[in-house]
């Protein structure tokens, strides 16, 4: 029997191609794309970790035709009972090693608590599997490095980290836009995540409850900056095209004083070599104004909210031309120009580019779509591979350290060496 990892088009597109192929494929007509994919063989996937996010992944995989969830792994029987209801055809296991031994399974998706990513990911890579691991990649630098090294050594296998913005068409389009100078000179960045939730989980089984609340244990988890902030820090590092050289953090328990040691309110300042600073705050004590990211510059400010982007132009900024026709949304006294990805493509399909794209999918879909495209046409370096995953993991781990000590930490190039 053939090695399930060897996929049909592997050889006509070699690893030398550094351009993510899915961005080229974006130009294909939908029908051609579908035909190309249906010609591909089914990919048998094991989903390891079937909590809230694991279920999202499972539901999203339904939209990816060639993905077949052949096994679900979780150490908690309640989750396996849920899996039985949702995916009756999938095998259920409590030990992930069973799926690593299964030659029919070429691919694993890891959605377990962050501190157990390392063991599973490294074992899976060593067993020859393709790996998609949720972000943050790890909660300790030692773990992150071990995973990055294993991924580096398995260059014929795909290793993708769930840094979702990297695969999202709106983020990609704004990335191009910023690179072409839309901000003028970038001067600063700010992001926030505000919610009202105790961030705690419960179970009738006390021991299980302890395990479920790993996010509240500063020894196991990097808390808010890692589990939430990573998805806002990563696009900032990507857009600014640099890695922080310092991080200053503050963290305290302001509301959920229920026995946890993890701060429920954090404020962090990331300094970048260019002089730009990103200020970030996250709290589950107040939902006011939700979550967004802002990139400020001389000519304009760009805001991300709910994976959509708007540009707020300075009155003295040069005219771009197209902004006259673009959709505008009002935010109190400011007028945001909607930045719609693929506006010309929408126009070609007779879809009004000033409306939201009716074909828009969730951020998780785009990330998984890219992962499975890579199975068919790769392996090429994913938009969020081990290097990107490692970089953001290092920064969130250092930030967590700064938050726990209310201190400033300097970062240098050697911190990012794998």
């Amino acid at each position: 029997m053939s090695d399930p990892r060897v996929l049909s088009r592997r050889h006509f597109l070699k690893k030398s191609s550094l351009v993510p192929l899915s961005s080229i494929l974006g130009g294909f007509a939908a029908a051609e794309e579908a035909a190309a994919r249906s010609a591909e063989q089914t990919v048998n996937v094991a989903l390891i970790g079937y909590g809230q996010w694991g279920r999202e992944i499972a539901d999203t995989l339904l939209r990816i035709e060639e993905a077949n969830i052949s096994a679900i792994v979780d150490t908690y029987d309640v989750m396996l009972t849920r899996a039985e209801r949702s995916l009756p055809e999938a095998a259920r296991h409590s030990d992930y090693r069973v799926v690593l031994d299964d030659p029919e399974i070429s691919t694993v998706i890891i959605a377990t608590p962050t501190h157990v990513h390392r063991q599973i990911a490294v074992d899976a890579l060593e067993a020859g599997k393709h790996v998609y691991v949720e972000a943050p990649m790890a909660a300790s630098i030692e773990d992150a490095r071990a995973m990055a090294v294993a991924a580096q050594n398995a260059s014929d296998q795909i290793f993708q980290v769930g840094l979702l913005s990297r695969s999202h068409p709106n983020y990609r389009s704004v990335f191009q836009f910023i690179r072409s100078g839309a901000l003028g000179k970038a001067t600063m960045a700010r992001a926030q995540w505000h919610a009202k939730t105790s961030w705690r989980r419960t179970s009738p089984n006390r021991e299980r409850e302890m395990e479920q609340n790993w996010r509240l244990d500063p020894e196991l988890s990097t808390g808010l900056i890692g589990e939430v902030g990573v998805h806002q820090l990563d696009p900032a590092m990507w857009f600014l095209n640099e890695r922080p050289s310092s991080v200053t953090g503050f963290g305290q328990i302001m509301l959920w004083n229920d026995g946890r040691d993890m701060p429920d309110t954090i404020q962090v300042i990331f300094g970048f070599p260019s002089g730009v600073h990103l200020t970030y705050d996250a709290t589950p004590t107040s939902s006011f104004d939700g979550a967004y990211d802002l990139f400020y510059g001389r000519d304009s400010t760009i805001m991300f909210r709910d994976n959509k982007a708007w540009m707020f132009k300075e009155v003295d900024a040069p005219m771009l031309g197209w902004e006259v026709y673009a959709r505008k949304d009002n935010f109190y006294k400011e007028t945001g120009i909607a930045l719609v990805a693929d506006a010309t493509k929408l126009d070609a399909q007779n879809i009004d580019p000033t409306e939201d794209d009716p074909n828009m999918e969730t951020p998780l879909f785009y990330a998984l779509r890219e992962f499975f495209d890579n199975h068919a046409f790769g392996p090429y370096p994913p938009a969020a591979g081990y290097q990107e995953g490692f970089n953001t993991a290092v920064v969130t781990i250092k930030a967590h350290e700064a938050i726990m000590n209310n201190s400033r930490i300097e970062l240098d190039e050697s911190d990012f060496e794998i």
Binding site: Q52, A58, D59, L62, R63, V78, R85, S86, L87, P88, T197, S198, R200, R201, T202, S203, P204, E209, D258, G259, D356, D357, P358, N359, M360, E361, T362, F365
Partner: protein
């Protein structure tokens, strides 16, 4: 015994949850997971987000088989059963009708006859084909649209309650926008949760008090969006069979073992009560014999408020739910004093 109260905005209304138990921290965590589940379901079912499962079905199911999750497939199967059970008065495909009548994101207007005819041709659960083998959905006509508005809230409440039970919660009350409520167990020292149904003519006063224990209650009413034309008021509750707004019945209430059923059947009952209520149902002692009408099943309790034959006053028709004596008297006043 401690009490924890939580609230969350979802599905364009306020969900509220009251929990009783021994440990406030754990009750809150369980309650938050339940409310998270409601948000998750909203994200799947909403037609206001192009990335939702339902938007995706609506965009594609006319031209291809759309694979859906087993949860959504089960819900669609339930919806088909409820459609049959309610004689077509509960229907997830009324979006084109709502648009024709201008009730989509608007307060409504008289429809263009041609547009109404087209919309009627796109209405009916028989136009939604469910394929068991690969759990896929297919529309039999271009333009069919699913809208889970009449069942989504109830379904979300049921799923949330399942999570509460899983977390060991045994005393809780969860409602969505006060129109659908599920009572888990009972409050301490009480036999049941006591829930009031508001009077259609004076919403601060109770029409009936209902005891609930491990049971749901849904109330549907014609208040809300409406417009006037030719001296007649047209409300936003449409009869899927005729394509016309429900005329006459002003309120229905149903209890059921789960909120999915009560949510769907209360809507269906309001539709049926406006058109299908015959004299025999209106008699004071209208206790049904044998088969319950309008999709009601054994174990369910219901009431409807309908105009009397000569339209001079409203009357409560009871199927196991009893109106308060005080409300009953006022409701039989002429509409000049009991109008909306």
């Amino acid at each position: 015994m401690v009490t924890v109260r939580l609230a969350r905005m979802a599905m364009a209304c306020r969900f509220e949850l009251i929990l009783y138990g021994e440990d406030a921290v754990r009750l809150r965590a369980a309650g938050e997971a339940a409310l998270d589940e409601i948000e998750r379901i909203e994200a799947r079912l909403t037609i206001y987000d192009a990335a939702s499962d339902v938007s995706r079905i609506n965009a594609r199911a006319a031209s291809e088989d759309v694979r859906v999750s087993s949860e959504l497939f089960d819900l669609l199967r339930t919806a088909k059963r409820l459609h049959r059970q309610t004689n077509g008065t509960f229907d997830l495909t009324i979006s084109p009708l709502m648009r024709a009548w201008g009730f989509f994101r608007n307060t409504g207007h008289m429809p263009d006859p041609e547009q109404l005819e087209d919309a009627r041709a796109l209405t009916g659960m028989d136009l939604v084909n469910l394929q068991e083998s690969d759990r896929s959905v297919r529309f039999l006509r271009e333009g069919v649209m699913l809208d889970f508005g009449a069942i989504g809230k109830g379904y979300a409440i049921d799923e949330a309650v399942a999570l509460l039970r899983e977390a060991g919660v045994d005393r809780a009350l969860l409602h969505g926008g006060t129109s659908t409520v599920y009572a888990l167990g009972s409050p301490p020292e009480e036999e049941a949760w006591k829930v009031a149904i508001p009077r259609p003519d004076a919403r601060d006063e109770p029409l009936a008090l209902v005891d609930l224990r491990d049971e749901s209650l849904s109330v549907s009413a014609v208040w809300g969006k409406s417009f006037e034309a030719g001296g007649r008021t047209y409300g936003h509750v449409l009869d899927p069979r005729s394509g016309e707004p429900v005329h006459g019945a002003v309120l229905s209430a149903v209890t059921a073992a789960n909120a999915t059923e009560s949510d769907a059947i209360s809507t269906a009952l309001l539709v049926a009560a406006g058109t299908d209520v015959s004299d025999e149902h209106i008699h004071e002692d209208s206790e049904p014999i044998g088969i319950w009408p309008f999709g009601l099943e054994e174990g369910m309790r219901a009431l409807i408020v309908v105009p009397d034959q000569n339209k001079a006053f409203f009357r409560v028709v009871e199927f196991g739910l009893t109106a308060l004596e005080s409300a009953r008297q006022i409701l039989v006043q002429p509409p000049s004093t009991s109008s909306q």
